[in-house]
Symmetry: C2
């Protein structure tokens, strides 16, 4: 029977040495066209694929990139955000012939367990870290272990790092300006957790935008943990101070906020306009359709991969922060169409 398929065996069948086969497999230039053809024929005929572990051991590169997602009690996985992110990362990796290793850690497992699993030599070449808290200790550990990494978010680290993020501040600011333009007078805010960079940035961006427009928020601020439930109870509380507009820091919380508005027998957008951040809930999912500051999650995932790849290849050596612009997608909850009609701007 056929011997186990390896470089040696392929070489034997093609009448060349193991090294030559290796060169063909790796697309190195210094192989004669004729030899190359012969070897490729044998490879095609046998369906040979080089052994990944052997290759990793010899080359000290695994071709595997880790994606670390700390999932707090599974909450995060109900958010379409991560699906999009994974899809983007995955696409980029398929194109680069890289393999994605996914590390999801619940709260019950401690930080050091994460590290020791991920920083296993010979397992991954580098990692992408998501959902980072401000000053995430994970980042320091990764650095101590000399593991190349890229952060998704805006890390608050004393050291410079590679990172990819959406323009949370700018996006939130645009929501504030939009409210101002629509003539809303009593804006409110439901911010994401302030121990995350997204939470901090979306909050400050919105407040800055209001200040710019000369609007004040007068304590109409609440914070929620990304979920529908949090959005609903935060909104219920805010309604006591009669806001006429609310910027909600995530799509999921906005869904809850809409429910609270409905339960109070108020109308959105007539009584309270709503703009959310994310733009990733399917538009048909809620009524009225959600106006939101959309961030390009998929692109963020893709870019994180290409940036890490560049770091691994030594193509980029200085800290680099990529920031993607957001886009205010106007649908129904902000009441823009309404305002347009009233002022006679619309046809």
């Amino acid at each position: 029977m056929a011997a186990r398929l390896n470089l040696e065996e392929i070489g034997r069948r093609a009448g060349v040495s193991r090294s030559t086969v290796s060169r063909v497999v790796n697309g190195e230039p210094n192989v004669s066209a004729k030899t190359k053809r012969k070897v490729e024929a044998v490879i095609a005929a046998t369906g040979f694929r080089p052994h990944a572990a052997a290759r990793s051991l010899a080359s000290r590169q695994t071709g595997v990139i880790g994606l670390i997602i700390p999932s707090e009690a599974g909450t995060l996985f109900n958010d379409p955000y991560f699906g999009r992110l994974i899809l983007g990362a995955s696409d980029a990796m398929n194109g680069l012939d890289l393999t994605l290793a996914l590390f999801v850690f619940g709260e019950e497992i401690d930080e050091s367990a994460i590290i020791s699993r991920v920083v296993n030599p010979g397992l991954v070449d580098g990692v992408i870290v998501t959902a980072t808290r401000m000053a995430d200790p994970l980042i320091d550990h990764l650095r101590d272990a000399h593991m190349p990494f890229v952060v998704i978010g805006r890390p608050d680290s004393p050291h410079a790092v590679y990172s990819v993020d959406a323009d949370n501040r700018g996006g939130a600011r645009s929501a504030a300006l939009h409210f101002a333009q629509l003539g809303r007078q009593r804006p409110a805010l439901i911010a994401p957790p302030s121990n995350t960079s997204a939470g901090v940035d979306r909050r400050s961006g919105f407040l800055d935008g209001l200040a710019e427009a000369g609007l004040s928020i007068d304590g109409r601020v609440r914070e929620g943990d990304w979920t529908e439930g949090a959005g609903r109870s935060a909104m219920a509380e805010l309604l006591a101070s009669s806001p006429d507009a609310v910027f909600v820091g995530s799509d999921r919380m906005a869904v809850g906020a809409l429910q609270a508005i409905r339960e109070a027998n108020l109308q959105c957008p007539q009584d309270v306009a709503v703009v959310s951040f994310d733009g990733i809930i399917p538009a048909d999912m809620v009524v009225p359709r959600l106006t939101s500051v959309a961030q390009p999650v998929r692109e963020v995932g893709e870019r994180a991969v290409s940036l890490l790849k560049a770091v691994l290849d030594g193509d980029v050596t200085k800290a680099e922060s990529v920031v993607f612009p957001t886009e205010l997608v106007i649908r129904e909850t902000c009441g823009a169409a309404l305002a347009a009609t009233e002022t006679g701007t619309a046809s």
Copy 2:
């Protein structure tokens, strides 16, 4: 400076041979307590971790399990189903000290590309395949390549395979019986795609349940591609034949169906009762709250991992199909509370 950390070096520092260190690392029994302690001390002091690739090469086991998710244009990733599944699989793997490699393939990449990437020797020990179509060619390819695998779903394969699935038929049947019990007379169905086992089973289970209860469906059947939009348009069509109840084959389609009902100025559950399948959309997400046949997605993911692990360890050798029961979770859209009130059953 410290030499590169490996078995040899740890052995040198502990005054033993490389083999002994290997035995300690792998928890083999035949090591004296004293030697073991000494070696462990050195390991703890140095933070040594064995090189994954080297270990894989020598032992012919990678400790990595692949999860294959064919994502059609990203549609599937908007569904919380996959997040849950990944979470379950991931949990199980963390417990078994296994690493998860995620393979997401869009439609643009063909089947053989999937195979050649996944079946790379020395990369993964086995794979879990999801979202399988009926008679999925992927399965045959996996078998041809001698790659151990477990299917999530009910594969329609001429060969026996290992699989894990939810009781789609039984769950759908229970929805039918529930409608009958509530006195609904004109049931309708929005089924998932019939080229998937879930689609086939949910459809037949529902129809069987109706037949059992003596209800007929009279052509009030549509099919949708899992999305909100599909549910909405299917429901809009069905309304022409005045159904008083509809079983929708997925949570997302049910969200769309609810919208269509509202847009037709009908009330749910008064005019049309709705029961969906999945039970994974956060309960607070829609109003009225969705009654649905819940499937234990996380458990399915966990079980797929433990089954594959057993297969890899040779603990199970005959084809095995694990089927998880579903649970009808009654909330508001089915109108059970309503019916109870009318008949005086409720307080």
